[in-house]
């Protein structure tokens, strides 16, 4: 009788500029779940953060320049890819967090993509305005992407937590650099594999794993990052991170209650355009 087949384990790497490299530093750190060893995750370096920002900046104008309809379809495809891999994602979340209701977290994450995918071509209608100024001028205000956003993902809720911040940022048309949960980074990397197969252009999403204390200050201080989501930053580190963000007047963003278009506009700039009216 043949021996039981030996499983092929996955190597978890970074998601950077559309590829899955290891850290330029060659470092890793051990990830454990309630049942012990899970994997050696990449311990990204400060240089990896800078490379990820470079990739995001290079990708940002293309992503922002797609039609809203096109961006919506790509985000919807992320949901499709996740649905197809939902068994794997449930497994990832439950191994990482040791929870029974991993299925609910995966469902919530998938539904978030569907919800925000539908907002891409509505956000300007609902959140923009035609302004009745007191003079012969056409005047409108419309939201547009900020550019490059850094997201420090929540430590817990390893999949739905990161999706709750990532989906509005991408819906807004930004390119992003995500620092995944330090202790549960593997579901975020599994999520990256969905981006890679969903026609999300390379560099639009970059996911780094590693030590928060080492990476978050670099991301917060980086002068080519326009906005920083600090939802995942603990109370004790918030002062340091927000202070670093002030160097280039970053927009500092925190999650509001639940899904809403306000989560999207938090990642956007309002632009007002004037033009005279006349024959």
């Amino acid at each position: 009788m043949a021996a039981e087949r030996l499983a092929v384990n996955k190597t978890y790497k970074l998601y950077l500029n559309g590829g899955f490299p290891r850290s330029e530093s060659g470092r890793s750190y051990e990830i454990t779940g309630p049942d012990g060893f899970l994997a050696n995750a990449v311990r990204a370096s400060r240089k990896d953060v800078r490379d990820a920002v470079t990739a995001a900046r290079a990708a940002s104008s293309k992503w922002a320049g797609l039609t809203a309809y096109n961006r919506g379809q790509i985000l919807y495809r992320v949901a499709e890819m996740m649905e197809a891999r939902s068994a794997e994602l449930v497994d990832e979340v439950s191994r990482a967090e040791g929870i029974e209701e991993a299925g609910r977290q995966v469902d919530e994450a998938i539904d978030s993509w569907v919800w925000y995918a539908g907002w891409t071509d509505k956000i300007a209608q609902v959140m923009g305005s035609l302004n009745p100024v007191a003079g012969p001028y056409f005047n409108l205000t419309a939201p547009e992407p900020i550019g490059v956003a850094g997201i420090i993902a929540p430590g817990e809720s390893s999949l739905a937590g990161v999706v709750a911040r990532l989906a509005p940022a991408l819906c807004a048309g930004n390119a992003v650099v995500v620092l995944a949960s330090e202790s549960h980074p593997l579901p975020a990397i599994a999520l990256s594999e969905c981006f890679a197969t969903a026609d999300v252009p390379p560099g639009v999403v970059n996911v780094l794993t590693g030590h928060r204390d080492e990476l978050a200050p670099v991301l917060a201080a980086h002068l080519d990052v326009d906005a920083l989501d600090v939802t995942g930053v603990g109370e004790e580190k918030l002062g340091e991170i927000e202070e670093a963000a002030a160097g280039n007047v970053k927009r500092v963003i925190r999650a509001g209650p639940g899904r809403s278009p306000y989560e999207v506009t938090a990642f956007m700039e309002m632009k007002t355009v004037w033009h005279p009216k006349g024959a």
Binding site: S260, T272, H275
Partner: protein, 478 residues
């Protein structure tokens, strides 16, 4: 060109009563400062002392924040329709006292009376009128969410549009149910103190609006006071960054409206005479003391020589002098410190090799003055193409293609405003999409309206003032 002279047409100042000494406005009363300190405020056009103004200290800030806190609960709880009525009353009182406000603004700040009379004061009143109407309609401004007030707002404003910036700050804050402690700039406190009287006349409940005067230290004490829930600041990017740093980790809400170095871009097909008017308005309006001033002129190469020569001719017709004269185009520089800064950067421009042109005009003997100035032959690396001068100084650069214009326009850490002049509609929209600026003026410049959101990209700050969007920095959505 014939030279036309204008007879003097000074606005009378007898409508204004300036007291020798002012108090702080705290809890609905004019009170002497606990600090016991005063400073002099002057007329920058004459250097004549106008009044002694309190320099609020820590104890005064404590008292003002406490008064705002005490009023916050009731103000948030009154019927929204009544909040609206108070704001309408304030708007009306400002209209009733418009002449007084305009003269005082010009005396204390040095801006031409025709600007304070036709722009600053009417827009300030309109701002209150606009936000008054929002006070009882907030459920329609934020569909799907409840908009709740943040509490006590610390607001620090600059000297370039003293009353208008006060209106931009106070009107949306009050409409959304917040109370405020506002600090006007140290060189221009008088219209804010007159506004305190207007609040009194309007019967505004005590403590809803508090006004503390002083310089940078007073401002720092106010924004860092632990009893403050929200900080709104308009001023330099340097101070804005300091405030953002000092608030880090505090949980206070923040909105910033900071500096700018706007590009005003003129294409060859633009109506050039109109464009020249727009260029002049863009940089010489309010002596260039405007954060969104069109301080970098980008001319398409083929028309550069023609536009510069038209511009120089137009500059020679600008009338510089007594700000109270109704014919004056260019008033006084707001302070000696600002004049020194302008002179320093203009010196740097000359040293770096740009070509200086200054309109031939006589500068009055007393007061702070600087002639309208244009630099040609400026390159992007010059400090006068990078740094905000905040004075009547224009730097001229050239470009050939749309792409180059966008590249140069966006090549600054700022992103407050931009101008585009062209007859081609599709090019306007193409440019407007690509310019990294919160406000884009196409075939016009320096237009403002209470219904029109204003604010910056990048290091020009965040948050919008004006329009429905201007409510958002003052509410918590639940």
């Amino acid at each position: 060109m014939p030279r036309w002279d204008y007879a003097p047409a000074p606005e009378a100042t007898d409508i204004v009563t300036v007291k020798d000494t002012y108090g702080l406005f705290i809890g609905g009363e004019e009170v002497e400062p606990l600090s016991g300190d005063y400073f002099k405020t002057i007329n920058p056009a004459t250097e004549e002392v106008l009044a002694a103004i309190p320099e609020a200290g820590l104890e005064d800030i404590e008292a003002a924040v406490a008064a705002a806190r005490k009023a916050a609960g009731t103000w948030a709880a009154i019927a929204p329709a009544d909040r609206a009525k108070y704001l309408f009353r304030i708007a009306r009182a400002m209209q009733e006292r418009q002449r007084e406000l305009a003269v005082l603004e010009t005396m204390n700040g040095g801006k031409p009376i025709k600007e304070s009379r036709d722009i600053d004061v009417p827009l300030a009143a309109a701002h209150f009128f606009y936000y008054a109407g929002w006070a009882d309609k907030l459920e329609f401004a934020f569909p799907g969410r409840n908009a709740e007030p943040l509490g006590v707002c610390a607001q620090v404003i600059p000297w370039n549009f003293p009353l208008l910036m006060l209106a931009w700050k106070i009107a949306p804050a009050l409409a959304t149910g917040n109370t405020v402690v506002l600090k006007p700039a140290e060189t221009t406190p008088l219209t804010a103190l007159l506004f305190a009287q207007i609040c009194h006349q309007a019967g505004l409940p005590a403590g809803v609006v508090n006004i503390v005067t002083g310089a940078g230290e007073t401002g720092a004490a106010l924004v860092n006071h632990p009893g403050v829930d929200k900080v709104a600041f308009t001023g330099s990017t340097e101070v804005g960054k300091q405030i953002q740093r000092s608030l880090a980790g505090s949980g206070k809400h923040l909105s910033l409206e900071l500096g700018g170095k706007a590009a005003n871009i003129v294409f060859a097909d633009a109506p050039l005479d109109q464009a020249v008017e727009g260029i002049v308005n863009g940089i010489f309006f309010n002596q260039g003391h405007v954060c969104c001033a069109g301080s970098r002129l980008l001319l398409q190469e083929s028309i550069a020589t023609r536009v510069v020569s038209k511009l120089k001719r137009r500059l020679s017709t600008l009338r510089l002098g007594d700000p109270l004269d109704k014919n004056t185009d260019i008033g006084a520089i707001n302070s000696r410190a600002q004049l020194d800064k302008i002179k320093e950067l203009v010196g740097v421009g000359v040293d770096e090799g740009a070509e200086l042109y200054q309109a031939p005009c006589e500068l009055p003997e007393h007061g702070f003055w600087f002639p309208p100035t244009v630099f040609t032959g400026v390159s992007q690396s010059h400090r006068i193409a990078q740094e905000e001068i905040f004075g009547p100084v224009l730097s001229v650069l050239t470009f050939r293609t749309e792409d180059e214009a966008v590249e140069k326009a966006n090549n600054t850490p700022y992103g407050l405003s931009a101008g585009v002049w062209t007859d081609k509609g599709s090019r306007i929209l193409w440019m407007a999409d690509r310019l990294k600026a919160g406000v884009v003026w196409a075939n016009t410049f320096n237009r403002f309206d209470p219904a029109s959101p204003f604010g910056g990209f990048k290091e020009s700050g965040f948050g919008r003032e004006g329009g429905r969007h201007g409510l958002e920095p003052y509410v918590r959505l639940t």
